[in-house]
């Protein structure tokens, strides 16, 4: 009986099925599926133009789409990539304006504004014009204005674009705090290493399609990618490259990039890696292993490009 009720409780925050978006005749998203759990820090990565922002806009129902988007959370805060406030108005005036659009009491607006400014170390007077803030401060204000209502889900479109390392660190810490408070965060980013460190679930989009979905370990397992190696070979001729590709295909080795006689590869196990080195030796070429490590999100992302 108890288990029956437990099963009925929706544990997800957002479920997307068969999401398809067309801009004119161009198909931008093709039947994308994913689920975001409550309290997830969900990262969407992909090349520019792959459809990341389109996914966010569809979730917010800002554009027309086909498919099903099922929200299991009240209140969504959206922070666009560009500054979405008025430079001519002060920090406080912007907060009142956007707070009022979300029907928040004046006193609540001011309290929350001060609270978030403190958390995000935006140490400026409320009367300061938004246009007088630095780039990093504007980015932080942009986020504050999006979460004044304290929504359950916070959607951030490239929140780290153009920020220096310190500003990024500050923002990641803040986002982690929000996650700890039970908020679900969905963000798009190009910073793969940082996304790996902070996001518990990653969606890789390639040419409008879902390429991969899951945690980093899920992705490694799914890609059969345990070891990453960068090998410098004395000379890679076209014939040798063909041989390497053929050899790799047979043994689930992923050829990630070839540049300037340097080859990056993803191996499903250590024994396959050692056999590969022997194969290079047999081809009569000298080689040097430049890098050998477990793959990071950077290398997993290269798989999507390969």
């Amino acid at each position: 009986m108890f288990n029956f009720f437990k099963k009925q409780t929706k544990r997800y925050c957002l479920k997307v099925n068969d999401l398809t978006v067309k801009y004119g005749k161009k198909l931008v998203l093709k039947k994308v599926d994913f689920t975001v759990g409550k309290g997830d820090l969900f990262g969407i990565i992909g090349l520019s133009g792959s459809g990341k922002s389109t996914i966010l806009k569809s979730i917010l129902r800002l554009i027309r789409y086909k498919g099903r988007i099922d929200f299991n959370e009240k209140g969504v805060g959206f922070c666009p990539q560009e500054d979405a406030f008025f430079y001519e108005l002060s920090i406080k005036e912007n907060a009142i304006l956007f707070g009022s659009l979300q029907r928040i009491k004046y006193t609540t607006i001011i309290t929350r504004l001060k609270h978030y400014m403190k958390e995000l170390e935006l140490d400026e007077p409320l009367s300061k014009l938004a246009g007088e803030l630095s780039g990093g401060q504007r980015k932080r204000l942009n986020i504050i204005l999006s979460i004044l209502k304290e929504p359950g889900v916070i959607i951030l479109d490239e929140p780290f674009a153009g920020l220096d390392y310190l500003n990024r660190l500050l923002l990641w810490r803040f986002i982690t705090k929000l996650k700890k408070r039970g908020k679900t965060i969905i963000l798009t980013t190009h910073l793969l290493e940082e996304a790996e460190d902070y996001c518990n679930k990653i969606l890789i989009i390639k040419e409008g399609k879902r390429f991969a979905l899951g945690s980093i370990s899920d992705l490694k397992r799914r890609f059969k990618f345990k070891l990453y190696a960068r090998i410098k070979v004395s000379y890679i001729s076209a014939a040798l490259l063909e041989k390497i590709k053929y050899y790799s295909k047979k043994r689930n080795i992923r050829v990630l990039s070839v540049f300037n006689n340097e080859i990056s590869l993803g191996f499903p196990g250590e024994d396959i890696y050692e056999n590969f080195l022997k194969f290079i030796e047999r081809s009569g070429k000298e080689y040097k292993v430049i890098e050998l490590k477990p793959p990071t999100l950077n290398e997993l992302f290269l798989v999507s490009l390969a």
Partner: protein
């Protein structure tokens, strides 16, 4: 208390929408200047053009080539001097010089007086004056004949009065002589009658002949009496048009108010609404609005109401300007005016937003606003009568809402028409509003 009020206000979405418009308008110095200065400048310019066409006190420079040696012609030149700055040129190469001086701008008008001008007038024949004008300035060329005619009107009146007086004198003198002849005839008839016995059979013949002659003289006298009473003005201009207004309005200049305000409102709202919408799009404000689940209808309505209030300011300014500088009087029907005012400003705001939706940048929006405003003004009937335009332009003019706006405002502010009386016009205006609103809504919805 203040905080409680603010708490209530910020709980309303429209507060945020209005707050943004208000704060941004107050921060941008250019917009309030446009709002305040435009009605003043346009009113002054419009009223000044009306003044320039009707006021006889303007001094225009006239160059004269006088080929008439008769000193009588000086009367003509001196009558012009009162209203124009007249300069008589030397007779050598006079016409060539005159044309050159018109070309270089020394004279606005050139006048040539032929050698037989005075002699023709003195012998009661029509005199011809030739005037020269720069045809490369069509506006001037179109009115200069009227201006010159008006300037010569007193001289023409003098010539007519002189001719009339001379004609009357001739007729009077002829009648006096005829009376003398008639007296002599009557005396002769009487003498013949007294001596009819002496004349015998000759008397009846003579008497009959003289009586016939007397009757003819009386008939000539009657005809001369008609000539004596004839008006030369009648001969030169038998029909005079006497213009009367159909509305019993104290100051007809008040009608100009509806033209000035609708043009100012159209220009201001087209510029502010089109650029305002593009600004909202550029600053991602519309994205915030959509993501905060604020309906687009709210956004459109708040924009319309806010810009209507700005137009309200302009309305009051133009009204005050016309009352205090032109002495204009108004007979306002307040309910009719409120309905008309909001309809006009809503239509103009929606046209502005439509431009904003179509134009991609603020510069393009400004350009489109200007390109649209000018034909709107020309085809409104405020400057050129629509009935004088070619058929296809009349059709376009009737499709433009500005004409309807001017008509509605004229009826409610000067003639005091009630809502009931302007109902058919209001309905047409509402149809414009509905179509424009639907277009703006669909375009914004499609874009966001």
């Amino acid at each position: 208390m203040k905080q409680k009020i603010l708490n209530v206000l910020t709980k309303l979405k429209i507060t945020g929408l209005i707050y943004k418009e208000l704060m941004l308008l107050s921060r941008r110095k250019k917009a309030p200047i446009l709002v305040i200065l435009l009605p003043i400048i346009l009113s002054i310019v419009y009223l000044s053009t009306t003044y320039a066409l009707t006021n006889p006190e303007i001094t225009l420079s006239v160059g004269v080539c006088n080929f008439d040696p008769n000193p009588e012609v000086n009367k003509l030149i001196s009558s012009l001097s009162g209203k124009f700055s007249v300069q008589t040129l030397d007779s050598e190469n006079c016409l060539a010089n005159l044309k050159n001086k018109i070309k270089d701008g020394t004279f606005l008008i050139g006048l040539s007086i032929p050698s037989d001008f005075s002699s023709k007038l003195s012998t009661a024949r029509q005199g011809t004056l030739t005037f020269y004008v720069d045809e490369s300035r069509p506006a001037l060329a179109a009115v200069v004949g009227l201006v010159l005619n008006s300037g010569l009107s007193s001289y023409s009146s003098d010539v007519i009065a002189d001719a009339e007086s001379e004609l009357h004198n001739f007729a009077s003198e002829a009648r006096t002589r005829l009376d003398d002849v008639s007296s002599v005839l009557n005396l002769t008839i009487k003498t013949l009658s007294d001596n009819k016995n002496l004349l015998g059979l000759m008397y009846p013949l003579l008497s009959s002949y003289l009586n016939d002659l007397d009757a003819k003289l009386k008939s000539y006298d009657k005809d001369l009496g008609f000539v004596e009473n004839i008006s030369v003005a009648f001969l030169t201009n038998p029909i005079v048009f006497n213009q009367k207004n159909i509305y019993d309005v104290a100051s007809p200049i008040s009608f100009n108010f509806s033209i000035i305000f609708t043009i100012v409102s159209l220009f201001t709202l087209l510029l502010l609404c089109s650029t305002g919408y593009i600004f909202d799009k550029r600053t991602n404000y519309l994205l915030r609005i959509r993501s905060s689940k604020t309906p687009i209808v709210h956004y459109i309505f708040i924009k319309m109401i806010f810009y209507s209030l700005i137009s309200g300011l302009q309305f009051i300014m133009i009204l005050a300007l016309m009352i205090f500088t032109q002495g204009a009087t108004f007979n306002i029907n307040f309910l009719g005016l409120i309905a008309t005012f909001f309809l006009i400003t809503a239509i103009n705001s929606l046209i502005g937003m439509l431009i904003g939706v179509i134009a991609k940048t603020e510069n393009v929006a400004i350009l489109v606003s200007l390109i649209l405003t000018l034909p709107f003004i020309f085809l409104s009937g405020g400057t050129v009568p629509i009935e004088f335009l070619p058929g296809f332009l009349q059709f376009i003019a009737n499709a433009f809402p500005l004409r309807l706006e001017i008509q509605l405002l004229k009826l409610t502010t000067v003639l005091g028409y009630s809502i009931e009386q302007i109902k058919p016009l209001l309905e047409t205006g509402l149809a414009y509003f509905a179509v424009l609103f639907a277009l703006v809504y669909c375009f914004i919805k499609k874009e966001h």
